[in-house]
Symmetry: C2
Subunit: 331 residues, 2 copies
Amino acid sequence: MQNTKISVLGDGGWGTALSLLLSKKGYNVTLWGAFPDYISELRKSRENKKFLPGFTIPDSMVITANAEEALDGAVLAVIAIPSKYLRQTLQKIKEVEIGSTVLASVVKGVEKETFKRPSEIIKEELGSVRIAVLSGPTIANEVAEGLPASSVVASDSEETATLTQEIFMSEAFRVYTGEDVVGVELGGALKNIIAIAAGISDGLGFGSNAKAALFTRGLVEMARIGTALGARLETFSGLSGMGDLVTTCISLYSRNRYVGESIAQGKKLTDILNGMEMVAEGVETTQSVFHLAKQIGVDAPITDQVYKVLFEDKNPLEAVNDLMTRNKKAE
Amino acid sequence: MQNTKISVLGDGGWGTALSLLLSKKGYNVTLWGAFPDYISELRKSRENKKFLPGFTIPDSMVITANAEEALDGAVLAVIAIPSKYLRQTLQKIKEVEIGSTVLASVVKGVEKETFKRPSEIIKEELGSVRIAVLSGPTIANEVAEGLPASSVVASDSEETATLTQEIFMSEAFRVYTGEDVVGVELGGALKNIIAIAAGISDGLGFGSNAKAALFTRGLVEMARIGTALGARLETFSGLSGMGDLVTTCISLYSRNRYVGESIAQGKKLTDILNGMEMVAEGVETTQSVFHLAKQIGVDAPITDQVYKVLFEDKNPLEAVNDLMTRNKKAE
């Protein structure tokens, strides 16, 4: 392991937490970020103050803004770039030779205009490569602290899935394999819409009964949209669906939940987003899914209401009431 | 409605909260409790200080320890008695004429020795009656406060289900109908085991990632046991399964979660239970399901570990580790 090189592309909270996890396992980890100034600050301070404060990055970890240096000789490269910046970042590094390096995407979200999933974008930009996707209930801070967590890795190739599983698996971080790449990626994207709704419920002062109802109906909505796009139904009952949704709805660290809570407390969306260092992927996902669901004719009542609250200044209380009093009588 | 009489049998937190809800809807509500001393205290103080403190019981509500008076002329009687005391309580009132009164059981739990569900016990003790079961993510305090909540009512008779739905339905309390009586009742019982496990995770200082994993695996375990006993799989994805499980795992009011948390903090089970006014149904449910699962040959790893922690002094950390490191590799 000492000589096995892993590179992590993306110096956000999740990229940094995974770098620490892999480094603790004894891998030779290189962390890459797109912004040279921030990277040289990171290299000096050995702490990711913006995105994962409170954790020391060991001296053994290489920190670089040079993609060629990062990828050279890496057995596996973790792609941990926000979906919003994914394509443009990959375009910058597409000249670098990928070779047999396995790419493990941990990106949660979809491309706003095209609704393409991260692994699709990676394939388009970097050509034919070995890709796995890893997702699940994995709040970055908790993983960095070494608290127990679990996730699922899916790939079209069983060999690629198993290799990725072995690299990430540890006593505290359990990795299961799966085959449904579409479902695993869509779960991680769609749950952010429901997390915003859960945050709205919190912000209105509602309790855990309301959140549980939103959660239950939300998962049905996620599965309905996901299966319409080719995902398998059962994937939404797993770690990357229900599991990730739970942690996102209950964690105080969840950015999307926070956006919902803030907007229900009367703040303006632009002010909320401007005040955040991190990206709340769910805001753009809501826009995409709102339009997509209409295009493909899928019923998405929670997404509709979240969209109206975020982008049409609908009163949050009215939105929740409209959801609660829908005419559905049988479960 | 002014003349429609509803009786609520059981003066615990949930019975009281439902009495308040029905009274607010304009029904003529009679609340019955088994202990004459506590009932006369309740009648004077107009507050259920032990089980639902902070809420005033209106003067219009009749409070009685006389079952005949309670049931006489009632269109519907809510059965809100802890499963542990259900059979013996029903035996005391079985001489009372039930007639066409619909019985709506809101009991969560099963009979320890027989694993019988509340509606089965009711049928056995009161003979052929019209029964519905109501369950879902419904923490009593929140419902009493008028915060939004939702639930599902199931009955073998569609007419009985619809009548019960109409009686409970309000703007803040949404009621859906279902047909799977077995699934609705078992969801409400089995989730308490997982809630204890979630509490153990909390007590060990673990975060929302660990809880989400327990939750996801826990629901699979609930569905596996439930379907082996005749429930429908999809019921566990609904309000009475997943929904109730979520609220129980996250609410600070959940007694079962509290039991798990306390035991992980090093307290003894008998001390915890002696210190609680309310019944933590999950403790006995864990015992029942532990033995039942072995009898019917169903794999129940979370129940096994919770049982060992509660009744065999197993170290909680070791129990969670044993769960996390099980040999399962594919999700």
